[in-house]
Symmetry: C2
Subunit: 105 residues, 2 copies
DNA sequence: TAAACATATGAGCATATATTCATATATAGT
DNA sequence: ACTATATATGAATATATGCTCATATGTTTA
């Protein structure tokens, strides 16, 4: 049995760390946000384009992008009347990779 | 920019896959469940022991273990009146590792 | 058998979440 | 200036979630 990789790799996690960690995973715990992230993994997209690809309302997507923005998982850039979103965290894809492998068995 | 690791590594994810993936991450989106998992990463524990370590009620822990059981992330074994829980998924620690690194910067 | 201990679970409640709808703001084109 | 387009956001609502409390079930010990 593992002797605890958490302690091995540094200090213990504080209660606050657990809250932050949970907060991080919460971003991936909704299908819509996941789909947005996966779309952005292939390249930057503007809001309506994401909405169209996902077959969802502009508002719903905008609300979720706000969440992802708050978590600093995506960044945005204004280009005229459009706002282009892209991934803004090197770890995002690493985190997803393991999960996707898991789902695929 | 990445050309899409999702497509690279196999077929596309279906809507159902996204639901499953979200469901997987949901398990890690709560501090209590995260703490339980981290505790179990160091070895098997019975319910009350987890409860005492986390300073939470037996009921609260039992409810969360039920969730983790449903997700097949933990397994349980009855030993007399105690029930011992342990991790039951090779991917669990891999998923957590990336997240923990992220939280630690 | 009775009492103590360990766990599981249903009901209830407070809070969080995801979406829709309406609307505000800003930019571009006519 | 007017209209169309793109995005953001507050309010409302329906649903999900996490915990407590009470209690049921099962096991060990006196």
């Amino acid at each position: 049995m593992n002797e605890g990789y958490v302690k091995k790799s540094g200090e213990e996690l504080s209660i606050d760390d657990f809250a932050k960690l949970a907060e991080l995973y919460k971003n991936f715990s909704d299908p819509t946000r996941l789909r947005i992230i996966i779309e952005l993994a292939s390249g930057a997209l503007c809001v309506q384009r994401i909405a169209r690809r996902l077959g969802m309302s502009q508002s719903a997507i905008s609300h979720q992008l706000r969440v992802l923005r708050g978590a600093r998982l995506v960044k945005h850039e204004k280009e005229g009347k459009k706002v282009t979103y892209s991934l803004d965290d090197e770890h995002v894809e690493d985190i997803l990779k393991v999960g996707i492998e898991h789902v695929r068995h």
